[in-house]
């Protein structure tokens, strides 16, 4: 565990626990007007078997006992889904330490387009470890918009490994909203295998109390003329800690790659901590890559300006904080999903009524 990738996140306590496992796995999968040929079925019924193992360490107590369950989503060639598929995973009525291992396999065939929203929630559940794996394969010219709304219980451990394989001209757009969880670790790993594959990874982490949220992303440019952009923003309050590690890798001969990465952080309290590490690892010469990271606070002048106009200081701070975060939501093109994420964002503010009244 004492490796570079776990430098800032410690799950030792979770590896020493004893766990119970549950037999049934039944996320709510919601959609309408599915065109013909689209398949959504339990993994056990699908012919394709899991091929990417979970990269997270396994508690000793669970060795040999872990049974992954999950679903298979298949979008056939030339099919364009009009409406998003909503997956809601609720950890409900769990007392003792429980492990919830689950896997989604998502396959988009040529020229298909889909939008998937994966929501993680908790209801009367405490010490559970959600071990999620999502495998995504995009055939040439396929496009997937993948949204995660992570709202786990504050005493839980959430680990999610997302592995994306992208073919020629394919596009992967993701947005990760971290609003809940005790310890959260997401590894989003995209591989751009063929020319003109593009990914846009965006995220917003809202971290408070004693939460620990760690976003690790890797974008591998394995072919020439591939593009990527990445933008994560974070707000860290109270005694919370956030970690961002974004790695851009450009393989030898992957020429004409364009890649840009930004990570911006707002620290709201004395005890809050942010550890950010944007990385560029480049083995080709004809590339344009840039990254930037900032850590800062709310603009004092802006707060002062607002208070001189009679706005209460606390509200002024909240408005500025909201503005900082809300900017990220503009990258979500789907209105309904943007509204959903905005609602989540508002829940993060304690007296959101006053704030909400002010917002359009």
């Amino acid at each position: 565990m004492k490796t570079e990738t776990w430098k800032y996140t410690n799950i030792k306590k979770w590896l020493e626990r004893d766990y119970q496992t549950i037999d049934s796995y039944a996320p709510i999968i919601d959609y309408n007007e599915l065109p013909e040929g689209v398949i959504i079925c339990p993994l056990a019924d699908a012919s394709k078997q899991a091929d990417i193992p979970s990269p997270y360490p396994l508690p000793q107590a669970l060795e040999g006992k872990l049974k992954e369950q999950g679903f298979f989503i298949y979008i056939p060639k030339n099919v364009v889904l009009k409406n998003p598929i909503y997956i809601t995973d609720i950890a409900a009525q769990l007392d003792d330490p429980t492990v919830l291992p689950a896997r989604f396999q998502i396959l988009l065939e040529e020229n298909s387009v889909a939008t998937i929203v994966h929501k993680f929630e908790a209801n009367d559940a405490n010490h559970y470890w959600r071990r999620q794996v999502t495998e995504i394969n995009l055939a040439p010219n396929a496009q997937l918009n993948y949204y995660q709304d992570q709202n786990e219980a504050p005493t839980s451990l959430h680990t999610h490994y997302i592995a994306v394989q992208q073919g020629r001209d394919s596009q992967f757009n993701s947005f990760t909203l971290d609003n809940g969880g005790g310890i959260v670790r997401t590894d989003l790993h995209t591989k751009l295998h063929d020319v003109n594959a593009t990914c846009h990874l965006n995220g917003l982490y809202l971290v408070k109390n004693k939460q620990h949220v760690d976003n690790h992303t890797i974008i591998e440019h394995l072919a020439p003329h591939t593009q990527s952009s990445e933008h994560y923003k974070g707000i860290v309050a109270d005694q919370a800690r956030a970690v961002f590690n974004g790695r851009i890798y450009v393989a030898p001969h992957a020429q004409k790659v364009v890649s840009e990465q930004h990570n911006e952080n707002l620290l709201l309290s004395k005890q809050a901590e942010i550890d950010t590490k944007p990385e560029l690892e480049i083995y080709a010469d004809d590339v344009q890559c840039a990254h930037g990271a900032t850590v800062g606070q709310l603009d004092r002048d802006a707060i002062f300006y607002m208070t001189t106009r009679g706005i209460d200081e606390e509200l002024a701070k909240q408005l500025l904080t909201y503005g900082f975060a809300h900017e990220m939501l503009n990258s979500i093109s789907h209105d309904e999903i943007r509204a959903l994420f905005n609602t989540q964002l508002l829940t993060w503010f304690s007296n959101n009524q006053e704030l909400e009244d002010l917002l359009p």
Partner: protein
Amino acid sequence: MTRNASIKKVLAQDYQHGFVTDIESDTFAPGLNEDVIRRLSAIKNEPEFMLEWRLKAYRHWLLLEEPHHWANIKYPNIDYQALAYYSAPKIKKDGPKSLDEVDPELLRTYEKLGIPLYERERLAGVAVDAVFDSVSVATTFKDKLAEKGVIFCPFSEAVHKHPDLIKQYLGSVVPTGDNFFAALNSAVFSDGSFVYIPPGVRCPMELSTYFRINAANTGQFERTLIIADRDSYVSYLEGCTAPMRDENQLHAAVVELIALDNAQIKYSTVQNWYPGDAEGKGGIYNFVTKRGACRGVNSKISWTQVETGSAITWKYPSVILQGDNSIGEFYSVALTNHYQQADTGTKMIHIGKNTSSTIIAKGISAGYGQNTYRGLVKVMAGADNARNYTQCDSLLMSDHCGAHTFPYIEVKNNTAQIEHEATTSRISEDQLFFCLQRGLSMEDAVSMIVNGFCKEVMKELPMEFAVEAQKLLGVSLEGSVG
């Protein structure tokens, strides 16, 4: 000439300092154990406290692992028992009293390197300590400096003449057990430079140390300690060269800087150890720990480095910003050509209040070179109002090279303002075409663009070094106009 041929021509200057000095040396047989350290300490007639210090470091070193796992460098395992840990040119018993007693062959060596040791031939503004393999062979302008109370002498002399300063400060910035190479250095370092600037003194000239590795199969382990007392200022330069040999050679130095209240230290390096040949054979393994402590309020430490040599460079000149309002700076140009590898950068540790740091790092990768920037900006909980600005740019000049940027930013204080920016790009076709269209040759165009790329760092170098550094980069001197 084509673009690639021009780039090669600009970069592929022959190594100018690859000759070997034929001189009789006292060299230890290869191998390292406590007896070797005792012998080394005995030869230097060191007081007991130094021997104890060395042995403690050695015992700790045995427990440490080489930092293979995180640095972005590849090299075969070093057999530490196959190296000799001491080599000194044979001299009369008590060492030379004046330059007239120094072996003429040595003087010629330094002349060939462009560092004449006779004061009358030196640039008036620079005092030099010349370190040859394991020992200091000459220090110039000592008397003139002594008038101001400035101490500038070989480390081995300081151990005898200024034991209190050594006891107080040695290892206070880089502890013996800090890392694998620092521990090794602490155990076996043979010489180096010692500088003390007394309170209120602005050092009247640039101080410099010129390091030369000559002997084969010998490691060079030097130690530099610079103390700038209250309200003082010093600018220190360091230069390095070595002969061309087919075997890799180890250089593991430690540099410690201490700046007390209102003191400023400016430390500049032009590192031109033998980089190995075009096929990657030979060259120096340069594993160096450099760290400064801004202990006093309003103190400032500034590192500037131009790294063009060595087969492998592993160094992170750092600043611990303890004093309130202290300032740390790091300016770096690292060039890797052929099969050179560099993993270099800095650490800025903000501890005091209102501290600020600036990092400007420029990496140029050519041939099969791999160039990594690795930096840490750490803001501790009590470091209110810390500021950091970091800019890292990489220029790629061939399709086999690599440029990597690994910045670590750790912030535990919500009044910090941290900004990091990095870019990686190729030398641009448009820029080259534009220059050619205005009549410049491809070579001049490449030189000009590379020079422009490094300018922010080059302007931080003292004049005496800027010229040498420009030459090293194969770049004509810009700014000669106007």
